[in-house]
């Protein structure tokens, strides 16, 4: 369980990245922080592994204040995936996956076998083990990033727009892989994104964040799509694009949004 207890982050230049934010993330669930860039969602994520320290409030993991924990040791027991995988270009794929075990001074056949298992888990063929990151596609690199985050078998996964830089088809593949992995491993995930569809698909709970990480709405993804509580959320989740009606065009029932743009076709289930 991760708790944000009235956290704020003031920067010296006067910006208020996070303003009095509180949240409890239950264990084994995926909570999505949804918001546009600059809303403080990445700052919140980084407070968990102490890459950012809050200027007020506390972050607790299973009741323990992270401020009392040594940052480097803390980070090694939390998986972190970012938008550009940030793999070490000079290490092979298998060595990249085994980064955290290596940092803990463990390198040997067991670690290697475990890294290969993780590659399989995220859908990478073992033949890629000896390649370098620059020899992989963006989507494959993200898979390596996920495998690396899982290498130390952490309870917590922090994911910062992990699929934001890959094309839509690959993104959907990766989202499905994540759902499958999560159904097997049941990690406590905080997932940051600005993609509404992604948030709804992946989040057990979704928080729509406004400026300063103010919580505009929280709840199940479907509720946020169907019952936005205010104009901010209504606009953020798509505005006119979510208000749909059916028109008959050449006798075919066609779904059209409030701005008059065609979004799809009504079919029999």
């Amino acid at each position: 369980m991760i708790e944000f207890d009235h956290v704020s982050k003031h920067y010296d230049d006067g910006t208020l990245a996070v303003d009095d934010f509180s949240l409890t993330v239950p264990s084994h669930s995926c909570t999505v922080l949804l918001g546009s860039s600059g809303c403080g969602k990445t700052t919140l994520l980084r407070m968990v592994n102490r890459m950012v320290d809050p200027t007020a409030g506390r972050v607790l993991i299973d009741g323990e204040d992270v401020a009392s924990l040594e940052p480097v040791a803390l980070r090694r027991r939390i998986g972190y995936v970012m938008q550009h995988a940030g793999l070490l270009p000079h290490r092979t794929i298998v060595d990249n996956v085994a980064t955290v075990p290596r940092l803990r001074g463990r390198r040997g056949p067991d670690e290697r076998r475990r890294a290969l298992e993780l590659m399989e888990l995220v859908g990478l063929p073992a033949s890629m083990a000896r390649r370098y990151p620059s020899q992989l596609s963006g989507g494959q690199q993200q898979r390596v990033g996920v495998a690396r985050a899982l290498a130390a078998d952490p309870n917590i996964l922090l994911m910062d727009e992990p699929f934001g830089a890959v094309d839509p088809v690959v993104r959907q593949e990766l989202q499905q892989e994540l759902l499958r992995i999560q159904s097997e491993l049941a990690k406590t995930i905080i997932f940051v994104t600005h993609d509404v569809d992604e948030a709804v698909l992946l989040g057990d709970e979704v928080l729509v964040l406004g400026e300063g990480a103010r919580v505009e709405q929280r709840g199940a993804g479907a509720d946020i799509l169907l019952e936005p509580v205010n104009d901010f959320v209504r606009e953020f989740v798509g505005g006119t694009r979510r208000r749909l009606h059916v028109e008959h065009r050449d006798g075919v029932p066609t779904v059209v949004d409030a701005a008059g743009a065609i979004t799809g076709r009504l079919v029999e289930q």
Binding site: N49, L88, H90, S134
Partner: protein, 218 residues
């Protein structure tokens, strides 16, 4: 060619002295420049000072530096130490800039991600920053190696023995062959050292070629 054979001891001896001045300067410049470049990376004022000083230093004529250094260091005018210190300073002036730019060019995402995985500062430097900056530093080292090997010869003008002695003697005696031998020996040394550095780079940084090739394709 008989001259070369009868004077082989002289030539070998001068080559050894040449190397004895050049190698420590090259190695020292690397060992000093890399930490200096890294330590000043996130301190803009210090970095500007370091790079500025390097540029000014490099602009001082070598002969002038050889002559001034005994006064500064308290060494004798013929002490090879003067040449060694001067060469190290020049090599550092080149190396510091290369190393500083090499560290600055590392992808911020790679550093951020290394921190997020739980690298401590020192671990990040050794396991991430050095390997990332390595290929560029190595390229700089090759330039430094060539330039230092040729600069050593200037020491002959103030009487410090090296392959440059073959130039000064050959010039004084109007003996072209001796000058030619000096040039050939210097070039051979430079090529040999370059190949050595390249070999060390290939052995310690097997990824460098792959990353470059991938970069060229992308």
């Amino acid at each position: 060619m008989t001259w070369v054979w009868t004077n082989r001891d002289l030539i070998v001896g001068l080559t050894a002295q040449h190397l004895l001045l050049a190698l420590p300067s090259i190695v020292l410049s690397l060992l000093l420049a890399v930490p200096l470049a890294r330590l000043t990376l996130r301190a803009p004022a210090a970095r500007r000072l370091l790079l500025g000083t390097s540029s000014v230093l490099y602009a001082i004529p070598s002969l002038a530096l050889f002559v001034v250094l005994p006064g500064v260091l308290g060494t004798g005018i013929l002490d090879p130490l003067n040449v060694l210190v001067a060469l190290t300073l020049y090599a550092m002036a080149l190396m510091v800039r290369t190393a500083s730019e090499a560290f600055a060019a590392i992808e911020p995402d790679v550093l951020l991600s290394a921190t997020a995985q739980g690298h401590g500062r020192w671990q990040r430097f050794v396991a991430v920053e050095l390997p990332q900056a390595g290929p560029a530093i190595l390229a700089g080292l090759r330039v430094v190696s060539a330039s230092t090997l040729s600069l050593v010869s200037v020491g002959a003008l103030i009487g410090v023995q090296s392959l440059g002695t073959l130039f000064t003697e050959g010039y004084a005696r109007g003996f072209l062959l001796e000058i030619a031998v000096g040039i050939v020996a210097t070039v051979l040394l430079a090529v040999a050292l370059d190949l050595l550095i390249l070999g060390i780079g290939r052995a310690t940084m097997p990824w460098a070629g792959i990353v470059q090739r991938a970069g060229a394709v992308a």
